[in-house]
Symmetry: C2
Subunit: 260 residues, 2 copies
DNA sequence: GCAAATGTAG
DNA sequence: CTACATTTGC
């Protein structure tokens, strides 16, 4: 089974890129982030024409996630509160979480808050969101031993995941508190699929639009597949496809594909 | 000699349309309105590559006029105040006037204010601007017996120049005061080149982007060539080229070409 | 309906 | 650097 994750930075603007990529890379499930579209305007038909089922959780302008799946998904749910009803609804005001089950494997598609800059209100929201994610996963794990948690985490967990080694501790996406908050999540029993196969630095999934970052390979590896033990054992590959980032008007992220 | 006028609604957005059109229609002078660009950002090189000289008078976001000429122009000047220095400088805050001489013929390229709606401040400004234009022309005529005054006049002088005959008197671009203000200008000795050759209604140069106006030919003839007597006698054709209005992302105006 | 500017987010 | 919303102008 192949599961891909891709922050497309607007599904409508990137519609041709995403459809073309799916035709070339007929993965079982594509986890999409930053759809930036309300549900009534999601371009279902383009993906239905490629024989994909669509599951969406969108909002106006910002955020928004979707699952595109060859086979129908089961037990689809959106947001934290559908699993944790007692939760403060503020955690679902931004649409960042969608999940479904395929072949007894729960696919969890996340768009973790960016956090803007270390110490600001959005940064605190990001850290809080990750503690909510931990609780949410504890609930999921009770029912689902096999979870593929993927998406745009907006965190580079290790220095080898970042091109720039200077001032990492004060930078958003690599500060100690962010890394620790993510480690606290992973400690529930998740491992990084990409690092099962590749140990070197220099592999990234996101390059800022500014300063010709892609041409200079000044990137960050912030899009991940975190797998529970059995799935991690079964994993046979995890690769970043830089090709779509080279197209005209690309997303700033590249798709990442795991096979298990 | 062929002189064209075309409100391009942003020279940068329409750069390919205008360059392609000039290649297909190598007129001697193209008078451009609504360039919407400051002088330092005008795309000179595109037109120089087509062997055109460029003379510009632009501003940020709004208005802006340009002359594109195969042969160098002489006595180029911009704004009313360069000819009428005693004039209140408010009349040149908006960049709407550029002129130059070729083969003893003065080409005057105008972007007359739109006026928004009858009776408002902008409407009064439009009427005032036309009285200033009259004074400006009186000065020009002292030196130049042959003047081709063209551009976007934002006035349809006769009912046959408008698709819609209802409520014309209260509509911007066809109110009595606007028509009279323009007639007062023309009375200095100008005649409408287009009407030398075509008497029927149904010929327009502008169609609103809204309500599928072009598809329904709900247009207005507001882009004109007004010629002094000798030029009018020499004129051999005056045609509206609707082809560019049919392209993807067109200007709302079509070019109009006079030959004399 | 379009184009441009501004502001926000990333 | 890019995407989207909003405002202004036509």
């Amino acid at each position: 089974m192949k599961i891909a994750t891709w922050n497309v930075n607007s599904i409508r603007t990137r519609l041709e890129h995403v459809a073309d990529w799916l035709e070339q890379n007929p993965v079982d499930v594509l986890c999409v982030q930053e759809t930036k579209v309300v549900d009534k305007d999601f371009p279902h038909s383009k993906f239905e024409a490629l024989s994909y089922h669509t599951y969406i959780y969108g909002q106006k302008s910002y955020n928004g996630v979707a699952l595109l799946s060859k086979k129908p998904l089961e037990q689809v749910s959106t947001g934290f509160t559908s699993i944790l009803p007692e939760l403060d609804p503020i955690w679902d005001e931004q649409k960042r979480v969608i999940t479904g089950v395929i072949d007894s494997c729960r696919i969890l598609n996340l768009y973790v808050p960016n956090g803007s800059e270390v110490g600001c209100d959005k940064y605190e929201f990001k850290l809080g969101w990750l503690t909510v994610l931990r609780k949410y996963l504890q609930a999921l794990l009770l029912e689902n031993p096999n979870i593929c948690m993927c998406g745009d985490f907006n965190i580079a967990l290790e220095d080898r995941d970042i091109h720039e080694k200077a001032d990492i501790k004060n930078h958003i996406m690599s500060s100690d508190a962010e890394r620790q908050a993510l480690k606290n999540v992973l400690e529930l029993g998740f491992a990084d699929a990409f690092r099962k196969f590749t140990n070197e630095a220099g592999h990234y999934s996101w390059w800022d639009y500014r300063a010709m970052a892609f041409r200079r390979n000044m990137g960050w590896r912030i899009d991940h597949h975190y797998l529970t033990t059995e799935l991690y054992e079964r994993a046979v590959s995890c690769v970043i496809d830089k090709a779509p980032r080279k197209l005209e008007k690309p997303s700033d992220h590249a798709p990442v594909i795991v096979e298990f």
